[in-house]
């Protein structure tokens, strides 16, 4: 298991934002974390990483900071790039947990950076200042940073929001490929179509609780969509894979 949560609860004041969440993610899984705004997706992941005070158990919080950083890469939703560093420098930051204090990046580190840049379609961008790129390009650079960290587990908070359709699909395919190669990946996302198509498993959150957990067709049921999102949708599995299309808001 690359990630195991047992009755994880995160409180904001007296109100539980994540309420008794238990789950386990195994190598090879690409898990889509879905749910309406405020369902607790981000809080679940930050709680699991130990970035928020919580009760219950997370397999990540027992690790020493550097060990944990070699086990899990975290891509926050806020796309923060404070200084105009080059794309290569920024992506190399992902190698931080692998370097001892004062150690310079080795061939292995450079190879990991180059591979991450290739996956995110950023070859040729190395010398450009990251702050001068477009929003979507910045998002890809930040994903590349998380990939360069080269961890068995990746947690990504809305990584594809704001990307063009081509790069959205390419990114989801890259995640699927990495998962197929033995990594475990959990991404939160709002595009249920992409989630249904590319994820091996979906976890649906509603009001801080895990409402449903399973293969896309088992989670995106008519009842679940109505209860949690208040919408109706069309879901079919054809020769092109799973196709999901939201239809209308239920009143």
């Amino acid at each position: 298991m690359h990630l195991a949560l047992d009755r994880l609860t995160v409180m904001r004041g007296d109100c539980p934002v994540v309420d008794g969440a238990s789950l386990a993610i195994a190598p090879g899984e690409l898990v889509g974390l879905i749910g309406p705004n405020g369902a607790g997706k981000t809080t679940l992941m930050r709680g699991a990483l130990g970035l928020l005070p919580h009760t219950g158990m997370s397999s990540l919080t027992d690790m020493a900071p550097q060990t944990r950083a070699r086990h899990v890469a975290w891509l926050p939703q806020a796309r923060e790039i404070a200084w105009p560093v080059s794309v290569e420098t920024l992506v190399t930051l992902g190698r931080t947990p692998h370097l001892a204090a004062g150690q310079r990046p080795s061939e292995t580190d450079r190879a990991a950076v180059a591979e991450a840049l290739r996956i995110m379609d950023l070859s040729g961008f190395e010398a450009r200042p990251a702050t001068k790129l477009s929003g979507g390009e910045q998002a890809r650079v930040l994903i590349a940073r998380a990939l360069a960290q080269d961890t068995p587990l990746i947690l990504a908070d809305e990584p594809i929001a704001g990307l063009d359709p081509g790069h959205q699909i390419a990114t989801m395919q890259a995640f699927a490929q990495l998962a197929a190669g033995g990594k475990a990946i959990m991404v939160s996302l709002h595009d249920l179509g992409l989630a249904a198509r590319h994820c091996t498993r979906l976890i649906l959150m509603h009001r801080g609780r895990i409402h449903a957990d399973g293969p896309p067709e088992k989670v995106l049921t008519k009842a679940n969509l109505a209860d949690v999102f208040g919408i109706s949708a069309h879901l079919t599995r054809g020769p092109d894979g799973v196709i999901f299309q939201p239809l209308e808001v239920l009143t």
Partner: protein, 327 residues
């Protein structure tokens, strides 16, 4: 670019250090100065070189390095190019601490009482700034908090000096607000050295964490950076550097703003490289400013802070203009 930067800055600092030793109202030749400094020949010249000019130049290097380093570290931590110890009231609070120590007589109690009290003043200011501006150091809160802390520290410094029984003390508000290296001696060097060494030792290793912070607190924490330890190291390091510098030379502003700003493009904006570069650059900057004050107005003690403000304030305005959308 970066490869040539450190040798270049080192060379510049060395050259300015030598020039500083050769600058002064008593004009004597290069060879005379050097032989007096090294061999001790020529009694009066030796005294001038070893006891007046040498400590002054050494202090310029130490203070410049401390202020440049503190500025770069604060900016890296708050991810804001406007963060500067002088502007956000850290230097002013250190000056208040120093003035209180001197006027209450605590400074005479034991050797390091003066820089220690200045350090305490600086710690309070840094903690206040971090509490008020928050972890992300938004420009508006940072500047507003800085104005409030500077104003309070300045007023209390004036009050303490006004209450002094010493008629000269009252007139010295300018020194504490603007800073000067005139007639500093080796006793001041020894007073500042231990604190600055501690400050450098605390701040220089922050580079890795500051680099990671480029991506935000969450990302940095998830990359194995211990933010709480880093914050403690930053607070104590900045306070030790700024406290010691202010205790011996008054509050010299803008060094920590101008130097990192000039050097940032040359280090590829990497906070970790900017730290040692700003230390060297700060030393060169203060040496240069201290040479300039002696050349511009040789008869008067033109305050270093005046010169730095003339250079730094327009740059500060430019930075505000550039970052105004974030305000």
């Amino acid at each position: 670019m970066t490869r040539a930067l450190f040798p270049g800055l080192g060379l510049l600092t060395t050259a300015l250090f030598a020039l500083s030793l050769l600058t002064g109202p008593a004009g004597f030749g290069f060879s005379e100065s050097v032989s007096a400094l090294i061999t001790g020949q020529g009694e009066a010249v030796t005294l001038v070189m070893r006891e007046i000019r040498l400590p002054r130049a050494i202090l310029a290097v130490m203070i410049g390095a401390s202020l440049g380093l503190s500025g770069a570290a604060l900016q890296g931590y708050l991810r804001n190019p406007l963060a500067e110890p002088g502007l956000i009231g850290v230097s002013g609070s250190a000056a208040l601490g120093a003035v209180i120590a001197i006027q209450t007589g605590f400074a005479a109690a034991f050797a390091l009482a003066l820089p220690l009290t200045a350090l305490a003043g600086a710690v309070i200011a840094v903690l206040l700034i971090l509490a008020l501006a928050g972890p992300r150091g938004g420009s508006l809160t940072l500047i507003l908090a800085g104005i409030a802390i500077s104003a309070l520290a300045g007023a209390l410094t004036s009050l303490v000096l006004n209450l002094s029984p010493n008629p000269f003390a009252t007139a010295e508000i300018v020194f504490w607000m603007m800073g000067s290296l005139a007639d500093r001696s080796f006793s001041h060097v020894w007073l500042a050295v231990p604190f600055m060494a501690v400050g450098w030792a605390l701040l220089l290793p922050l580079g890795r964490g500051l680099d990671a912070l480029t991506l935000g607190e969450d990302a940095a924490a998830a990359m194995g950076i211990r933010l709480d330890r880093m914050r403690l190291q930053l607070v104590l390091g900045v306070a030790a550097c700024v406290g010691a510098a202010t205790a011996v030379a008054g509050a010299i502003g803008f060094v920590g703003l101008v130097v990192p700003h000039l050097l940032r493009p040359l280090v590829g904006a990497r906070p970790s490289v900017l730290l040692p570069a700003s230390a060297l650059g700060g030393a060169a900057m203060v040496l240069l400013a201290d040479i300039a004050v002696r050349l511009v107005l040789p008869e008067r003690d033109l305050k270093l802070g005046v010169l730095m403000a003339i250079i730094g304030a327009p740059l500060f305005l430019h930075l505000i203009y550039k970052t105004r959308r974030a305000l």
